[in-house]
Structure formats: structure tokens, C-alpha cells
Symmetry: C2
Subunit: 257 residues, 2 copies
């Protein structure tokens, strides 16, 4: 097995570039950091391009590597460099980005979460993980939303990208298509005159839009939803974190409120 | 007004030290970063020790400073240094830590959130903000939980520390005291045999414990709760982020489920 100890190595440079959107789009791959994610990817049959393991982790992890995947031993220094963190576990994989086109006009069932300009990577990842836990069929990232395969998003998703659809899409098109296919589409607003989320009949077939941390969802989208929902604030906080609001709405809309 | 441009200035060194727990405990103060927090502190009548503003923000912000508070003009470089971030707004305040002792045996009403070894500062801050929004009376941070006045916690709380009690406490004592005072105490567990959170009668008088990101709440605490609650997972995610789980529980227990 090739042993790589220099951050100047061409492979290391290529892996480090996967932390940028440009790097991921040029290579059509992204990086998984940590045993849990690598195991989830193996279970999901993801397409592996490489597995990288530090000497310390070698004995434990290497037996599970799928046959035929190029494996590399990397130094601790290289591990920190490609992780962009100071305490990586010491196991990584480079896998293919999902490459599918997805036409919302064929969507006739399931619960779908639409993200309108959610900027914080942790929020995006946590929303995907929560949508998975709430039994959603997919999450659609509109323009202006953090890239689904950025390192901080991948960390927060905790492997949920292997359990449900995680797609880029035009939210305008999605709202129109879901509505045309008789799925209600709910917006979310910090507006006491909007409908209380507790007054919606629970269901497993709908779209739910959550919007930007500071601005909320766009007025254009809000104007074409079936209803816009409000979470009543009891205390003096001005608002909820968008991932918290999304979590409360997703569980209430699917399980009942 | 004194103008400070060097990170070697004694005041700047002292402000920078407030990013550590040791620094905060020695000074009995902590730092607010950004206009929103400073305004919340003014509104709440917090005890100010200093206000620091960059030249760029001076004209807008300075008129609101409470009379008698020492005000300093700081350079952009100093602002970045004390913020520990690259893009601070350019307005800070040093205010007193809350200095109160709080005996849980006097607590006879309200909803109280108990944090058992929550390590991530963003989770702690978001949980406090969400407890505020759900109308909770206070949040008790047990040992092993991130410090409430660490910069990342303060950022995520978004001023909620001025709206409800944020206390350090011995969770064992709190559970005993709340129980003795006839408030039910709910734990939370990733255990399908626990009680579904949807089967709890909504109320405004109870304790709710959420536990460590990886380990959950301690067995000792779980053994003495009124009931331990479970959020049913519909998809393939293994768990929910603790702040999301806390948000779902807090809103469901207070508003109804």
C-alpha cells in the first residue's frame, strides 16, 4: 500500500481541494471523514475512489475496505491537512458525488423538505439529518443554500445523504410541480398571522419550505404555498434557529401535533 | 475617548482572556459581540464594565451607550483579536456574569430545562434560545456541560440569557427538589421502550433533561425521573441532534403534541 507523508503529494493536494465546491465539481467526488460515514457509504454501495487511513487506525479499519478500492496509508499530518480539523479520526474516503437529474413533475408522494437560501453549513446538514429521522423522502437545496457536500454539511448530515434524496433544484419549479401533483406545500414564516403549525392535519405527503436564517423564505415562494405556517413563540426570544424550527415542523407535520 | 490600536494593550489582553472560562471567572465578566446582544443587555439592565466600538461603527452605535460606561474606540485589528473571528460587527461590551445562588428547593413552578453534559457550545446556546422561545423559566447546566458564557454559547443564545434563568447546578439535586415539589421530571432517551413524547399531557410545570451528544443522559438521572421520553425515528437516521430533540420536546411538552 502506498504510504503518503507529504502535504505536497499530488493526491493530498487533490483531496484537500475537495473542501471547495470548485474542487468537488471538477472531480465529481467528495470526502468522507470518520469511520461512521465510511461505513454508511459502504453499506449504501457508494462509488469509492480511495480510502485513506493513518497507521494508528490501520489495523482496526482496513479489513472492511471494499475490494478493489485504492487504499493509502497517510501520516497524521496529512490526515489533519485533508480534514481541515486538528483531531480527525484518521480514516477518510473519496466517493462520487450523486449524479442524477431529478424532475419534480414525477414526484407524486412522500414528504419533501425545500431549503431556501439556508447559509449555515451546520444548519443544512442538521436539517437533512432531521428530515431523514422524520421519514422524509428528500431534501431539495435551492440556489443560495450551502453546498450539500461541503465538509461541515457532510459532518452534520451524519450519513443521512445515503438514506434520502439530497438534491439541488429550482424551488419555484418544485413548488409548482408538487402543487400540480396535489401535494400541499407549506411555507414557514415568523408571522403571527400565518397559520399555526398545530392546525395542520398530519400527513406523509407534502412539501415544506424553510428559509434563510436572517430573512426567512422569499416572498415569491411564500405567495404560492398552500399555507404558511407559524410556530408560536411563548417567551421573549425573537425567533428560533432555522434547524430547530424545521425539526419541530417536520415532526409535527408527519407525526401529529 | 481612549483609542486602542494594539493587541498588546493591557485592556485588550484582558478582553481576549474572557474567551476562556478561567479569564471569565477571574474577572466575573464576559464579552458580548455584536449590536443585537449589546442592545439586549442594555434593555435587561445588565451591569456594563466597558463598551468597545470600531471607528466604522461609532456614529451608529455610540448614542445608545448607557451613561457612565467607559467607552473605547478600537481598531479593526483589535476587534478581530477580541472576537476571535475574522468578521466581527465592531461593537462589543464587557458585562458582569450573573452572580446568584439559586436553590432548587424553592422552585415550585415553571418549565425547567436541565442539560446533562452537553458538550457542543452551539448546542448549549441553541437549547437556551429554544427554551426561551418555548416559554421556559430557566435552564440548568450540569457539570460537564459547556460553559454558558463561552463565546460560541453566547453567540448561539442570541440574548436569551437576559430572558430566562441560566444557572449552573447539580442535576441530581435539581431532580430531587423538583420531584419533592411535585413537578414531574422527564428524561429523554434514544430507547424505543421509553414513553413516546406524544403521550405526555402538555403543561407549563415540569423539568426536562437532555443529555450528552454521544452518550445521552446519565443512567443515574434516568433512574429517578418521572418518565423517560422517546422521539420515534421514522427514517434510517440513528438519532437526532440533541438541540433538535430538545426543541421538539420543549414545544411538544408545553404546547401539546
Amino acid at each position: 500500500m502506498e504510504r503518503i507523508i507529504s502535504n505536497q503529494n499530488a493526491r493530498v493536494k487533490a483531496w484537500a481541494k475537495l473542501s471547495t465546491k470548485k474542487g468537488r465539481q471538477e472531480n465529481h467526488t467528495y470526502l468522507l471523514d470518520g469511520l461512521h460515514l465510511v461505513e454508511e457509504a459502504i453499506k449504501a454501495g457508494a462509488k469509492f475512489h480511495a480510502i485513506m487511513v493513518t497507521e494508528k487506525q490501520m489495523a482496526d479499519y482496513l479489513p472492511n475496505v471494499p475490494h478493489g478500492v485504492p487504499a493509502f496509508e497517510i501520516s497524521e499530518e496529512v490526515a489533519k491537512h485533508i480534514a481541515g480539523t486538528t483531531t480527525p479520526q484518521g480514516i477518510f474516503a473519496e466517493i462520487s458525488l450523486p449524479e442524477k437529474t431529478f424532475d419534480p413533475s414525477y414526484v407524486h408522494d412522500g414528504a419533501w423538505l425545500l431549503l431556501d437560501k439556508i447559509q449555515d453549513p451546520g444548519n443544512v446538514g442538521t436539517l437533512v439529518r432531521t428530515a431523514d429521522a422524520a421519514g422524509f423522502k428528500g431534501v431539495v437545496l435551492g440556489s443560495g443554500t450551502a453546498d450539500a457536500f461541503a465538509p461541515k454539511v457532510v459532518r452534520a448530515m451524519q450519513g443521512s445523504q445515503f438514506h434520502l434524496e439530497v438534491l439541488n433544484g429550482d424551488l419555484d419549479e418544485w413548488v409548482d410541480a408538487l402543487t400540480a401533483n396535489n401535494l400541499p406545500v407549506y411555507g414557514s414564516q415568523l408571522n403571527e398571522e400565518a397559520k399555526s403549525y398545530r392546525d395542520v392535519e398530519p400527513s406523509t405527503q407534502f412539501g415544506l419550505i424553510v428559509g434563510n436564517e436572517g430573512q426567512g423564505m422569499s416572498n415569491e415562494l411564500a405567495a404560492k404555498t398552500t399555507a404558511n405556517l407559524y410556530i408560536p413563540i411563548q417567551g421573549q426570544a425573537e425567533s428560533l434557529n432555522v434547524a430547530i424550527a424545521g425539526g419541530i415542523l417536520m415532526f409535527s407535520l408527519t407525526l401529529g401535533n
